[in-house]
């Protein structure tokens, strides 16, 4: 038993320090040839070992990209873990419940209506993400018995509805790709992010993530079902509301920047569940960190695997879909 505990501890420590390592790797890799140590020396010790271009490539391009990638990955994984607990369903995440496509549609709508990426995009994205999860839940509730599968079905319906609306919006708006934003982020890409995009995500993350982490122990209780959770002193309706709104907020922020990146919210919490266990007090922060590291890692792969940059959404799907099949098999369609 103690051997198992030591192993768990080392895994946890590894997960918590992985972002630092990946951040360094991410700063070092790229098309522009440079020596990271030189850049660090000139930034921190004011030695002129690196040119100003090298310095700014690292700090203006690679650094925001890595940070944003980390925040997005973390947000998606955290909201996946949360939604799994809230809906007592290990097979959902924000993508499965339609939040991603809902938020995506909201953003497309805002871009079509107002033409520029702005705070409006975030608000629209958030509102439609929330609407999507509400719809998925409503559809899932039509048939009370096997709500696990029904909820996923509801999510599939809502997802495809909003995906269709996205394509429709793109079709009307964009015969000549005049609005490159739309195209870019439908594929899920971090290729052109800068500190401007950081503006979008830091506030939602700063609000949403602490709120979710604040309630992380109670998510355990929430996953016992409404009746038991109430008897254990949890205000289920209020807590679910708070958590779903927070999840939609951080998901919407992620979608606004990098488009609909699927699967992260599903894969990451499950890896933690398998390695560390299901206690959400540990699971939640670990999911955030591993999710962040995962996306930074995927982004590094995306720009170094081939000469052409692969959209990260494609890469996460390539990894996520087979993983989900394994998960379905392991959970036998609902229970772990």
């Amino acid at each position: 038993m103690t051997g198992g505990k030591t192993k768990k501890w080392s895994i946890m420590i590894l997960i918590y320090i992985s972002p630092v390592l990946l951040l360094l790797l991410s700063l070092a890799l790229g098309r522009y040839p440079l020596n990271l140590i030189d850049v660090f020396q000139s930034t921190f010790f004011h030695k002129t070992s690196a040119s100003s271009v090298e310095t700014s490539v690292v700090w203006l391009i690679r650094f925001p990209r890595a940070i944003i990638g980390f925040l997005i990955g973390g947000s998606l994984a955290l909201s996946g873990a949360t939604l799994q607990g809230v809906f007592r369903n290990p097979l959902v995440d924000s993508g499965m419940l339609g939040v991603n496509s809902g938020a995506g549609f909201g953003a497309v709508l805002a871009i079509i209506l107002f033409n520029q990426g702005s705070i409006t995009t975030l608000i629209f994205s958030f509102a439609f993400g929330l609407l999507a999860v509400g719809m998925a839940f409503a559809i899932g509730g039509f048939y009370k018995q096997s709500s696990t599968i029904m909820l996923i079905l509801g999510g599939v319906i809502v997802s495809s509805l909003f995906s269709a609306l996205i394509s429709f919006g793109k079709y009307i708006a964009d015969p000549f790709d005049e609005l490159p934003e739309i195209v870019f982020w439908l594929m899920g890409s971090l290729a052109n992010v800068s500190y401007d995009e950081l503006k979008f995500i830091w506030l939602p993350v700063l609000i949403g993530v602490p709120v979710i982490l604040y309630y992380r122990r109670q998510i355990n209780i929430l996953s016992m079902g409404d009746k038991e959770a109430t008897s254990l002193g949890v205000h289920t309706k209020r807590l679910k509301g708070i958590l779903i709104i927070s999840c939609s907020l951080i998901t919407a922020a992620s979608v606004c920047i990098a488009g609909t990146i699927g699967w992260v919210g599903l894969i990451i919490p499950h890896i933690i569940r398998m390695l560390i266990g299901n206690d959400h007090s540990k699971l939640m922060p670990l999911s955030f960190f591993l999710g962040g590291s995962f996306l930074v890692c995927i982004d590094i792969l995306a720009r170094s695997l081939t000469a052409a940059e692969i959209p990260i959404g494609i890469l996460t799907s390539l990894i996520g879909a087979p993983f989900y099949i394994l998960l379905l098999k392991k959970t036998k369609g609902g229970k772990w």
Partner: protein, 363 residues
């Protein structure tokens, strides 16, 4: 009962007659038609004088207008619905039916227009199902494609033949050659080390020029060193993208943008600030007339050539009178007298196109 039967017969007759109508229009023989070799080396039998043409490749609409057949365009793709100047020159295009949006053809709408010739881009020809439909309804179609000055000139000649306007076609090509030679004369003595590194954003900021394209060829003639040719680009269908770090590594001295707004984006975005072109405020939006001059299929490519050369090397190209050539270009080829004001707004490059929903944003 009898009334019902007669209505039924009437309907059938109407349907049949409308069908036969379409078939009749394409009933071509040696007397009422001629044979044209299109860009895919197909031999196509087309009417001697096509009267109702569906123009599904934006730039061929421009060429047709130049060849004096703009009024024969009855069906278009949405690109042709957006250029304000073109609408002034050939107002009938405004009224033409929109049968192709975002690559998808509304075939029934096309049939309704009762066209006797279709001009299409090669990617449409690659769509077997679509080609089958055209064959089934015996609608003759010409496939057009070009990726260099030579093939562009060939296309103009071919369309000149189709619309019996060989002289105008030859005039365009002559003007093309003349400008090309003039520009070449001015540029040729500039030593290699003084030539400027140029980055050309075709659409979005990172969408750029690949090897073997029209913009690549004209940039070479204009004396710009296209930086994107140095490296492997990211390909997405027929578009090519550079990564931001590549662009920074190339460090272009001048950036040209085709699209209104992209120049501001580049000038404002943090990550672009370390590039010489941005530092020295040498980010230009290219002129837009009938088409965006820097576009991969622009009919104004010869003018673009001259404009780029003058922008890059104002001293060496001092003798080139862009305004005179531009005015001559529109006057001689389009019979359109360019006012000073109109010239300025073409060169300015902004507000010359309608939004994608065809609303006018400028005013």
């Amino acid at each position: 009962m009898k009334a019902k039967l007669s209505i039924f017969i009437l309907v059938v007759v109407m349907i049949l007659s409308s069908c036969s109508n379409i078939v009749n229009t394409s009933d071509l023989n040696d007397e009422n038609s001629k044979v044209i070799v299109d860009s895919m080396d197909r031999e196509v039998r087309v009417p001697l004088e096509p009267q109702r043409v569906a123009c599904l490749f934006t730039n061929t609409g421009h060429i047709m207008t130049m060849l004096g057949s703009g009024d024969k365009i009855v069906a278009v793709s949405n690109g042709l619905k957006r250029d304000k100047l073109l609408h002034e020159i050939a107002p009938s295009i405004k009224e033409a039916a929109l049968v192709k949006v975002s690559g998808a053809v509304n075939f029934e709408e096309l049939l309704k227009q009762n066209v006797d010739l279709v001009i299409m881009p090669s990617d449409m020809y690659a769509d077997d199902a679509l080609v089958k439909q055209f064959n089934k309804y015996k609608i003759p179609f010409i496939v057009t494609q070009f990726d260099s000055i030579e093939t562009q000139q060939d296309l103009v000649m071919m369309l000149g033949e189709v619309f019996n306007a060989q002289e105008e076609a030859a005039l365009y090509n002559a003007m093309y050659d003349e400008i090309r030679a003039l520009v070449n004369d001015c540029i040729k003595d500039i030593p290699a080390e003084q030539r400027l590194r140029v980055y050309h954003a075709l659409n979005e900021a990172t969408n750029t020029v690949p090897l073997g394209s029209l913009p690549e060829e004209f940039m070479k003639i204009s004396g710009g060193l296209e930086v994107s040719l140095k490296d492997q680009l990211i390909q997405d269908n027929d578009k090519y993208y550079a990564s931001l770090e590549q662009i920074i590594a190339w460090n272009p001295e001048v950036i040209f943008c085709n699209e209104d707004g992209v120049d501001q984006y580049i000038l404002e975005k943090d990550q672009w600030q370390m590039i010489d072109a941005v530092k020295n405020h040498r980010v230009y939006i290219m002129p837009t007339g009938i088409s965006r001059w820097g576009h991969t299929t622009s009919i104004e490519t010869p003018l673009a050539m001259m404009w780029v050369a003058k922008t890059l090397y104002p001293e060496a190209c001092e003798t080139l009178d862009l305004k005179a050539y531009t005015q001559a270009f529109y006057r001689d080829l389009f019979e359109y007298e360019l006012t000073d004001e109109a010239y300025d707004s073409i060169i300015d490059g902004r507000g010359m196109r309608l939004n994608k929903d065809l609303s006018d944003q400028g005013e």
